[in-house]
Point group: C2
Chain length 81, copies 2
């Protein structure tokens, strides 16, 4: 069993309303000195069996086809365990 | 300027309907061999000035008070750049 993390973030040029909402709320809670906040998604996948290169390529395909919207989001796949 | 990432995931014992929905969709797209999927949030914060221990403690406080719900979620703070 292997654990793979897929991090999905909005592309830099894309407006990130959720991130802006968090950025706006921080001073109201007394937190200052935060220049920007971006919010995305994090997926933790438990993969059966051994994590071969072929399996890792499949995870990349899952990320592209299901876990992210390639038009507005970037993703990064990392093997954790 | 420092970049800090806050990863927020549902606690293991908490039902994760979003993760289950993704898990259920994978076979329909032809992907097999994924035992479990958990979905959470990822925040990237740009912090002004130097990242002192005090500032890092503040980010932990932000994570606890605003970015996560400590009743159902765990968070992890990591310094990226």
């Amino acid at each position: 069993m292997a654990r793979v993390v897929v991090d999905v973030m909005p592309k830099p040029e894309i407006l990130d309303p959720q991130g802006k909402a968090v950025l706006g709320a921080l001073p109201r809670l007394g937190f200052v000195g935060v220049a920007d906040v971006r919010q995305g998604k994090r997926f933790e996948l438990e993969i059966d069996g051994e994590l071969t290169d072929e399996r890792l390529a499949e995870v990349n395909e899952m990320a592209e086809k299901l876990l992210s919207n390639p038009v507005i989001e970037d993703f990064k796949v990392s093997v954790v365990a």
